[in-house]
Symmetry: C2
Subunit: 327 residues, 2 copies
């Protein structure tokens, strides 16, 4: 099934959305918010699924048109957002561009940081920032949402705790990153609010595109209408989602509604383009001696989307612009 | 006023607690949970305050005895937990012990990391961990809770967004930290769930002990009943809480219920002891050539508490033990 949250209050109103993303129905009789559903997933999921099936078979006359502009993030505020860096190819590239060796352990021990989750943006929300000089970048990624995950779980058991998939635009302020990394405490000011796809979907929606904890599908990224990248998400993904979940849960339980990201999707085949500006700039530095592609200015727009084998948008599109915020 | 959350479901039941921490009353008529109150603080705070005044003047016959063992964290799960490192003295010491210089900028630009907030422990909860070899340590700190904070706020305006104060035991796994810091993505596996004081209190409860955004009071830390440290929280605090809030909000809004920590409280006067084992070990290395104080074993206990000028416990005590968790 496919689930969205309509803008309303701090947590939105949970809606079930049809497979073709044309119709929807709010479900306060089942759960008012997605977090409420996740808190009691075992009980709520079958009820939501039943509603979804009726919606798809046109059995719900009360259904409304699905309007992405009404969507907030499926979880407008979450208790946890952890972002991995599963495409080690991308990490190696970033290091290579600055002349640094990548430790061998990066191929076996995932990179992951704790992100801010108190305010997550909707797919068409403007991204407000107060300074273009910060080096504004998008990062297109796949995310999963878990139910309650026990501490110390092993990867082969983590799989069944993944209940939803979605997309994220993990906004990064590139010029603030070196200073923060130098301090050793990870990202904070360099990672403002992230934005999410209109809908999150259950694993069954991915059909046979979901293979070994990865989605075999291209992630399409457009900048101001121009194709920027279209890497395949299952290619060159060193750590699949169950491995990322297990890494996150090594020393603690994870609460229901935890969001875990793949990190910027990236393929070794550079012909498919990139999912963030920084990677393209790294390639330019390596190939041409200097970075040429500029970071985002206010008014510029990014679109992130993925399709199933029939060409149907799976999650709907993240399609938003960066705007000036006056402090 | 003083507020606690009694164990119930995922978010607890909000209770108003008497100033002397002997009586309490749940307040579902005002707000079921602390997060609900924080979401509408302007409306809820005066109502909670009125209830608090009646409770203190014995005007609430329905009040129950306040039993700390029934407490979960005041926010059993929060949307954001950011931990600063405001006692730069402590940071310098840690670096000195490993022979590293501290950058001069650390005196003007706060260190802060994004912590996990999906599951926060109560004051008497056992701390479950699966391996003693991880180098288990406590860290005694002061925290504040904010209401909604706008992006880019300046420190002198951040003050009024601090609505609650409390204490935290920010558990750290010392032997996992070097590996994680080496990866550059900050703490994650090395920072399991944190534990919080029985009550959070409004700024007025601190009276004239709250000076310039800092609490002028000693934080008492006991390990297995033995005094381990009693530094003054306003001494050697390089960044006060309004400065920490402003730092956190530089590139993003902060949602109501954001928790921000001071980092391990630490005084230059080493005679007052330490608020974490790592600091004592650093002092031992510097003074005696080697660390002698061991990290925590399962079954060991830590107590963290602060008192007002009359000797009354302000927040109640964090008093808990580390236990073995079998994966």
């Amino acid at each position: 099934m496919k689930l969205a949250s309509l803008k309303a209050g701090r947590d939105g109103h949970l809606a079930v959305v049809s497979k073709d993303l044309t119709r929807m129905v709010v479900v306060p009789d089942i759960a008012c918010t997605l977090q409420q559903a996740l808190d009691n997933w075992k009980d709520k999921a079958p009820k939501l699924q039943k509603k979804y099936e009726r919606l798809n078979s046109e059995g719900l006359p009360a259904a409304e048109a699905f309007d992405v502009s009404r969507c907030t993030a499926p979880l407008p505020r979450a208790y946890q957002w952890l972002d991995g860096s599963a495409y080690v190819n991308h990490v190696e590239l970033v290091r290579k561009a600055r002349g640094a060796e990548m430790p061998e352990s990066f191929w076996t021990d995932p990179l992951m940081y704790q992100g801010g989750s108190d305010q997550l943006l909707g797919p068409q929300d403007d991204i407000p920032l107060s300074n273009e000089e910060w080096g504004i970048d998008f990062e297109a990624e796949v995310v999963v949402v878990t139910n309650d995950v026990p501490m110390g779980i092993c990867p082969n058991k983590a799989d069944k705790h993944i209940v939803l998939f979605g997309l994220v635009n993990d906004v990064s302020l590139r010029n603030l990153i070196p200073g923060e990394l130098g301090k050793g405490f990870g990202f904070m000011q360099s990672k403002p609010a992230s934005s999410f796809s209109p809908v999150f979907v259950t694993p069954d929606e991915l059909g046979d595109q979901l293979q070994e904890g990865m989605i075999q599908s291209r992630l399409f990224v457009h900048r101001n209408g121009d194709l920027f990248g279209r890497p395949d998400c299952a290619t060159d993904m060193t750590f699949n989602f169950p491995k990322l979940v297990a890494h996150a849960a090594r020393t603690r339980h994870l609460a229901a509604g935890t969001i875990i990201g793949s990190g910027t999707v990236s393929n070794c085949d550079h012909g498919v383009g990139s999912c963030c500006i920084a990677e393209r700039r790294m390639l330019e530095i390596i190939e041409e001696g200097e970075a040429k592609t500029p970071f985002m200015d206010f008014g510029e727009q990014v679109r992130i989307e993925m399709f199933d084998r029939e060409g149907q948008s799976i999650f709907g599109a993240i399609d938003q612009q960066f705007v000036h915020y006056a402090c």
